[in-house]
Amino acid sequence: MIIEIGYVGHFLLLLGLMNCIILLSPKVLTNSNISQEILFSASKLHFPIILISFLCLITTFVGEDYSLDYVSKNSNSSLPLIYKISAAWAGHEGSMLLWCVVSSFWMFLASMYSTNLHKRLRVNFLAIMGILNLGFLLFVVATSNPFDRNMTIPLDGNDLNPLLQDFGLIVHPPMLYMGYVGLSVVFSFAVACCFEDDFKKEWAQWIRPWVLASWAFLTLGIALGSWWAYYELGWGGWWFWDPVENASFMPWLMATALLHSVIATSERGIFKSWTILLSIFTFSLSLLGTFLVRSGILISVHSFANDPSRGVFILFMLVALIGGGLLSYALNSKKFIDDSDVRLISREGFFLLNNILLVTATFTILLGTMYPLFLDILGLEKISVGVPYYNAVFVPLMIPLILLVGYVPILLSRTSIDSQLVQLFIIFVISIFLSFIFSVQSVLFFVGIFSTVWIIANILFDFYRSSDNSVKIRRRVGMYFAHFGLAIFIIGASVSESNKIEKEFTLEIGESKKVGVFDYRFENLKEFKSANYDAVIASIIVSKDDRFITEINPEKRLYHSSDSPMTEAGINGRLDRDLYVSLGNMVSDNKWSMRIYDKPLIRLIWIGTIFMILGAIFSIRFKQSKIYE
């Protein structure tokens, strides 16, 4: 019985392909009412078809159907159930099918909630989404079909890469894809708008919740990835400026710029042309990210088996979609030009500066990511761009942005110059005071503290001043949440980077070592057997001035199906600091090499992103009710 499910899934994939072609009928055949109705239904129907196909894939994993090549390569009978399920999107083929599911889901939503658009725009918009879905699905069927069958059926599967057997990795891809592909809604809408006579303010208003939602998912996806890297890879870093991370960070920066410019367009009708172009660029960078990750040209956890035909296919799709989008824009952009003046010290001026800084930052990252690839493809030189480049370029670009973010509440509440000076003075005093408390160690640290105080204090001043005006506060609460999250993130990143202690040494059982203010004693080592791995678990007793603080249990695992050991870091996470221990290897009897890190405030990095996401969610709710009232 189970065997047939693979066929059902495969059949549904092909059905989805057909459905996409039918969806495009009004564009291809006639633009009659009937064919438009077909388009609207097909765009909704696509989601259940692809979703069920994906559920079929999961079923084959749970049912251990190793007649499917993909299942036999990514699963194993001894794998816990939860990882059998998540293995469905852990490998290349399955994750591309997940991409299609997510894409069909966004098209479903777009179709459901676009009834308030006028018909021609809606038809064009959904047709473009249909083309995107068709392209993605074609890619899966032609080059990465998870339902491909094995010539001989193996008795058991290979196993899932142990690094991926983790909760973070179950949620990270779906969230990231929700963000990436959500931007396709924005892209399709922007391109569809190019074919209209004029760009109406209301359309920017219409697209804003979609931008916010995609942005929120993208933020969550990236934060989960960073969190996973932090506790799973055993190096204790949270961001490596690795090309694959950059691939997700670039669309995020662009989406952040878009998030702001779309407000200016929806409220004042300015930056129309720019907002459309930015929408196209943002999704283009998502696609570029996918190309980088999926084509296998990058060295990373994210690169799967290298198959040149896939790279060529994605490259072709990239050129067709981005080229098509940009061409539509270029041919029609004249219609949207507006020459309204923008004063620098105003909301619109700030949006402009925000956009300039974010787009510049994106291009510096793009350069660092793509330049080595170009040189390599041309066969000139093999190089990589070091982390210091990114820090040296990115951080200075963000400092003016942070100053702007902090100034926003002052700008909005139109306070007088005198009270602005008083405010600035108070903030300076608080920052210096805080720097003393934490005993300042570097410029980075002071910049971090100052930025955070600057943003938060200004927000609080505005709350205090407009406490009698609840409408005003409600309007700004989403923005303030997001900006507050940014401030929390900044302090987490700057303090943990400048005040971290990282030590690598060898320790014998019974021996202890002082790192920072804490003593770490290597108490003992226990063996542990699980269903699909064996492990040794160390017990590290942490104390301060002979007072017991905590026990940390880093692990070293050996998965049955793999020859390589796996390090599971032991983390004692508290709001004020993380104590992080990871085991190296046994260097002699009872003696192990290990890493001990002390990372103050590092948790604030992820807590900050939670606030940012909440901010986006609050903004969505408020605006939507306004539109549909």
Partner: protein, 151 residues
């Protein structure tokens, strides 16, 4: 007239700033480029001591030596034509093994490559393209087995 000269000052001021920023940018970019070399290029080339770059290849079978009781290790990295002795004082990544591909960042010191960072490939069937290239392998990554090469 006055307005115009003010504008000239303004624009030239901006250009100077922009030029300075661009200069700093290009300088930072160039300073942080890490070159990649294979053991053969390393043996044939002339590299100044303490110049940081990356090398890659296979960890030679049987060459890994751990200094007992410390985290110091040494091993040979080979592209099957030439090899380089690498020494490292640190914790090797989980996937580091003899007969597997590695990429190492470090510098030369008396014909010895001192590693600052050792990267091993992330899963067992994957090899960094750079390593594959230096080994002269076919596109699909089907490389000659260690035995057939070392014999």
């Amino acid at each position: 007239m006055k307005k115009r000269s003010a504008r000239i000052y303004y624009v030239s001021f901006l250009l100077v700033i922009l030029g300075f920023v661009l200069y700093a940018f290009v300088k930072t970019f160039n300073e942080n480029l890490l070159y990649y070399r294979s053991p053969t290029q390393l043996v044939n080339g002339n590299f100044p001591d303490n110049y940081i770059f990356r090398i890659g290849g296979m960890v030679e079978e049987g060459s890994l030596i751990r200094v007992s009781g410390t985290k110091k290790v040494s091993f040979n990295v080979t592209d099957f034509n030439n090899k380089v002795l690498v020494k490292y004082d640190g914790i090797l990544p989980d996937l580091f093994r003899e007969g597997q591909g590695v990429v190492i960042r470090g510098y030369l010191q008396n014909n010895l490559f001192v590693a600052e960072e050792v990267l091993a490939k992330h899963d067992e069937t994957y090899m960094p393209p750079e390593v594959k290239d230096s080994l002269g392998l076919t596109e699909d990554g089907k490389y000659k087995t260690m035995e057939s090469i070392t014999q």
